[in-house]
């Protein structure tokens, strides 16, 4: 803010007007999701979709969460917890693995590591359709098919490229002299990691964990392929099943969608800055 303030000008008004219109259109779907969920069942009609609710009713959320035995559909509560049991351990394993790989690929380069790294990275761009058929077969052989541990395994494996990339770029910023000096002091590879790299890795871990948590929570393809029983399905798969079923009213579907979006939205609101960094790393510009 070193430049002098410009006097009132019409183009400032235009800029703000455009920004407000854009912001309103981005918020439109959330507005509908939110208000629809708050309406009582009598109030819900397609014709009054945009109208504000007359009072606060949480019936839709409760129904989406608990389901309805009478109407014969499952609530999302169990699946929400499945996603928690899936995303939390998978995120932690992914981050640890990525940190180790990033450490080796940035500070302990070996012959061929410069070829290996791009080969690894390619794994994050492939359409997963090209690995699904053998994946199902192998998971069945390993006894992991149709279970949450199986899904955790899948997410950790296919998370290797992005987590390795983010950590490699993060550790590349740390001067090699620091590592060399510790080597002279007699520290080994694990000692250097534990005492020098790991303590300053927190920002890297935050970026990777937010990225992995968001993508695992939001994943649908692996979930729908690996888990077929409703009781073990993650929330995205359960939400899709709920939305595709004709017995569930659309206000309940909307409430369910908001419930499914809540954890990642919360992470975004609280830690948006780190979310951005993962995003930019995804385009290889770490």
């Amino acid at each position: 803010m070193t430049t002098h303030r410009s006097p009132f000008r019409w183009n400032r008004v235009v800029i703000y007007a455009l920004l407000v219109i854009a912001a309103a259109s981005y918020l439109l779907p959330v507005y509908v999701l939110f208000i629809t969920g708050l309406k009582s069942f009598q109030e819900v009609s397609l014709a009054r979709m945009w109208d504000l609710p007359t009072g606060l009713h949480f019936d839709s959320y409760i129904k989406a969460w608990l389901g309805s035995q009478k109407e014969g559909f499952r609530g999302l509560s169990g699946n929400f917890m499945n996603s928690v049991y899936l995303a939390v351990p998978a995120t932690i394993f992914s981050a640890l693995l990525g940190s180790m790989n990033g450490y080796v690929l940035s500070k302990w380069k070996f012959k061929g590591s410069n070829v290996l790294f791009p080969l690894m990275l390619f794994g994050m761009f492939i359409p997963y359709q090209s690995i699904l058929i053998p994946l199902v077969q192998v998971l069945q052989k390993l006894g992991l098919y149709g279970s949450i541990p199986g899904l955790i395994f899948v997410h950790v494996v296919y998370g290797i490229p992005i987590t390795t990339l983010i950590f490699r770029n993060y550790y590349a910023e740390i001067p090699n002299e620091l590592i060399e000096a510790s080597k002279i002091d007699g520290a080994g590879i694990l000692g250097i990691y534990r005492h020098i790299l790991f303590p300053i890795s927190m920002p890297g871990f935050v970026v990777v964990m937010i990225w992995q948590f968001t993508s695992i929570w939001n994943d649908f393809l692996f979930g729908v392929i690996v888990t077929s029983r409703p009781a073990v399905q993650p929330i995205t798969v359960a939400l899709q099943n709920m939305a595709g079923s004709y017995i569930v009213e659309w206000n309940v579907q909307m409430a369910g969608a908001l419930l499914a979006a809540l954890p990642t939205l919360l992470v975004y609101v609280l830690l948006g800055r780190y979310f951005m960094r993962g995003l930019l790393a995804g385009s290889l510009k770490g």
Binding site: W50, W108, F122, Q129, N218, M254, A260, A261
Partner: protein, 332 residues
């Protein structure tokens, strides 16, 4: 000296599990899928009798179904509109935010938050928003909103509209093309599926914040002196953006095209939750066809062929970019 070699061994041991996992689960699996695409495997029990290119030929012919040809048309429609939408909207938003506006952080968060949610949530929400309504219910969703603000003439069927805009063979242009030997262009497989526009709107809503963020980061990296110099030279703001800033942002546009382009080739979740195949495959895409034919129809070899084609197209887009990025990084 011993110490260093011992560390070397540990370093290899640390990374070995990941290397093996990628070798097997990415490259080994791709090889298996590629192999399966040349076999007769069309039921639950694997049948590895080789049939040559038959599975591929079927995809590119109109019998027994022209589904894959529709998919290719839809993917082209989707990719072009989605990329154009994200790049234009993302750039405009970034330029607006770059004008030292108050509350920039809030605006930025609003444009970016859809990135944090699942395509499934997006699909469920937009399916209701773009639901055109029926005769009984009257207009609903966006149609209703348009009606309310006096833009009722813009109402239409959204993703329920099966119209394919293409050159009709019997039209004047179609006849002309036929005469000069390009009659093949007048085909419903070379056209625009209007239903796809609904999916594009939802996807652009979700992803345009990403291009906005990339462009904004790029704009912030352009030194203020450059802008000042251009203003001193008497260039208008528009001329400055056109001749100085846009060229400088080209690398970002390239990244955006690659990243969003490969996402659009793989688009799956959004289609599943929003429309499925749509009327007469109007919103069907290869990734959805692959899933449908493989895991619902048990036609594994056919699915493997679609997956292989998808992979090759994505690789053609991504591999040169990957090599280029790593090379430029190595030069630094």
């Amino acid at each position: 000296m011993r110490r260093i070699t011992w560390d070397r061994v540990i370093s290899i041991l640390l990374i070995a599990p990941s290397i093996i996992a990628i070798a097997v689960f990415v490259y080994g699996f791709i090889a298996f899928t590629g192999f399966s695409s040349f076999t007769k495997w069309d039921s639950l029990s694997p049948d590895f009798t080789l049939v040559g290119l038959r599975n591929y030929q079927r995809l590119f012919s109109t019998s027994p179904t022209d589904r894959f040809l529709c998919d290719l048309r839809n993917t082209v429609t989707f990719t072009v509109l989605f990329l154009a939408g994200c790049i234009v909207i993302g750039f405009l938003l970034a330029v607006l935010l770059d004008q030292r506006v108050k509350g920039e952080g809030i605006f930025r968060s609003i444009f970016l938050f859809p990135m944090a949610i699942s395509f499934i949530v997006t699909g469920v929400a937009w399916r209701w928003l773009l639901n055109p309504g029926t005769v009984q219910t009257g207009s609903s969703g966006v149609n209703l909103l348009l009606q309310k603000v006096g833009l009722g003439f813009l109402r239409w069927g959204w993703f329920t509209d099966p119209t394919i805009v293409h050159i009709r063979p019997e039209s004047g242009l179609g006849m002309f093309l036929k005469q000069i030997g390009l009659g093949g262009l007048a085909s419903p497989y070379i056209g625009i599926s209007l239903a796809m526009i609904s999916v594009v709107i939802a996807a652009t809503w979700q992803m345009s914040g990403y291009t906005m963020a990339m462009y904004l980061a790029g704009l912030r990296g352009i030194p203020e002196e450059l802008r000042e110099a251009s203003r001193v030279d008497g260039a208008s703001e528009f001329q400055m953006y056109r001749h100085i800033i846009l060229p400088l942002l080209q690398p970002i546009t390239l990244s955006a095209v690659i990243v969003l382009g490969h996402i659009s080739l793989k688009i799956f979740d959004l289609v599943v939750s929003m429309t499925g195949s749509g009327p007469a495959f109007a919103t069907d895409v290869p990734a959805f066809f692959m899933w449908d034919t493989t895991f619902r129809g048990n036609n594994f070899a056919q699915g493997a062929a679609i997956a292989t084609i998808l992979l090759v197209v994505v690789a053609v887009l991504v591999v040169p970019y990957l090599i280029y990025t790593i090379r430029t990084e190595a030069e630094l």
